[in-house]
């Protein structure tokens, strides 16, 4: 059976079916992201003074990734326009750039994630004196990096400091090796904390520029709480990872579809060029939507 209106438009709507389909799908996507955005707003406005982490994401990296995504969006539409005049070679070049940008975006994002997984906040039982913004400050909360036995460990938390015993299954086979207790660790504190205002943070960063970290030794017994910048750190990181990971999955999905149409699926250009162009247009519409989500995500998460 032949599926109707895959290439020719339906007389009553003036649209081929896939186009109606993608717009219905995008409408549902708007609701999905809308729900998460509204959750973000509610968490944000409900957060008390000085409790909402800000200024912890790299703005230059975020800006660069925005440029990467905008570039991929324009190459998608230029590729489609090239097909309109039958220039298949030009289309191939444009979409190759799109695919490269997509994977570039994901690469940069994973680099950012990795950075967060070894960046920590430590809550101390008693305040100590550290250097922040060109002056000595008394504080019981520090941001920074851990150094333990020559490594910068990932995903540490309060429980990790206490260590854990060996776990055996019922046959006596060790399923999880014992983890040694941590007595103390070296900590390289950042000159900033998000309890500062954005202005104070910028000032503190400027003051400390070029000065090396003052490494301190922290005893595990002095630690009230330890958390890497992971979802369980705070509602901020929970919503940050939820939104950016969901967006990242959309980038990955879109890139796979565009790659398929560009590579193995390109045979269709010879047999049914109109339907092929429609596929390129529909995948492009999805891609622009992904770009559109990022246009809102970037300022609210990185800048505000």
């Amino acid at each position: 059976m032949e599926i109707p209106y895959t290439s020719k438009p339906r007389p009553d709507t003036g649209l081929y079916n896939a186009k109606v389909g993608i717009w219905l799908f995008l409408a549902s996507e708007v609701m999905l992201f809308g729900a998460l955005f509204s959750a973000y707003i509610l968490l944000r406005v409900g957060a008390g003074e000085g409790t909402w982490p800000h200024g912890l994401l790299s703005i230059p990296i975020g800006t660069f990734n925005t440029f990467v995504l905008i570039t991929s969006s324009v190459t998608v539409v230029l590729g489609w326009a090239s097909l309109q005049v039958g220039n298949f070679g030009r289309y191939k070049v444009y979409q190759a750039i799109t695919i490269l940008c997509a994977f570039g975006f994901l690469g940069i994002k994973s680099f950012e994630y990795r950075d967060k997984f070894k960046h920590y906040e430590v809550w101390l039982k008693n305040p100590i004196t550290v250097h922040q913004g060109g002056k000595e400050v008394q504080t019981d909360r520090l941001l920074g990096h851990i150094e333990y036995e020559g490594h910068h460990p990932y995903f540490w938390n309060t429980a990790r400091l206490a260590g854990s015993p060996e776990i055996k299954d019922k046959n006596g086979k060790v399923v999880k090796a014992a983890v040694a207790r941590v007595e103390s660790f070296k900590f390289q504190p950042d000159p900033i904390h998000y309890t500062m205002s954005p202005k104070e943070m910028a000032h503190a960063k400027k003051e400390s520029f070029g000065h090396p970290h003052q490494e301190i030794e922290i005893k595990a017994s002095d630690v009230k709480r330890l958390s890497a910048f992971v979802p369980s750190h705070s509602t901020f990181f929970a919503i940050y990872f939820t939104l950016t990971a969901l967006h990242g999955l959309h980038v990955l999905g879109g890139a796979i579809v565009i790659f398929y149409i560009w590579g193995p699926g390109a045979k269709m250009w010879k047999t049914d060029p109109q339907r092929y162009m429609n596929r390129v247009e529909v995948s492009g519409l999805f891609w622009h939507f992904v770009d559109l989500v990022w246009i809102f995500l970037f300022p609210i998460i990185y800048l505000l």
Binding site: W23, A27, V30, M31, F67, A81, E281, F296, P299
Partner: protein, 115 residues
């Protein structure tokens, strides 16, 4: 833009002149998006005292960028009626979603969300 592309049976519906005109528009939108991004980031480094102003400006620029993408890259400037109908419903529903969620703000006054 797709108004003409299906009017005849052949694949390449747009005239080369038309397409090259569209390409110019795409490039212009691309440059506008880049400028918009630079403006948003640059304003952020100014650190306005008013938080409301900072948020308003960031969202205003983002909305302009989003409109440009939707109108020109997604061709919403000249679409068929049915697409507008779908998006009309979506707009109403997403606004309702936002408003309904935010009405629960009274249950989470400032300072009640901790970590």
């Amino acid at each position: 833009m797709s108004d003409h592309s299906h009017s005849h049976g052949e694949a390449h519906g747009h005239s080369p002149e038309e397409v090259s005109k569209h390409k110019k528009v795409y490039i212009a939108v691309f440059i506008a998006l880049l400028i918009g991004t630079v403006v948003t980031v640059a304003l952020n480094y100014l650190h306005f005292d008013s938080k409301a102003l900072t948020i308003a400006i960031a969202l205003f620029v983002a909305s302009i960028k989003a409109t440009l993408v939707a109108c020109y890259f997604m061709h919403l400037i000249s679409e068929k009626k049915m697409i507008y109908v779908i998006l009309g419903f979506t707009t109403i529903l997403v606004i309702a979603l936002m408003v309904l969620t935010l009405t629960s703000y009274a249950a989470f006054p400032n300072g009640t969300v901790t970590h």
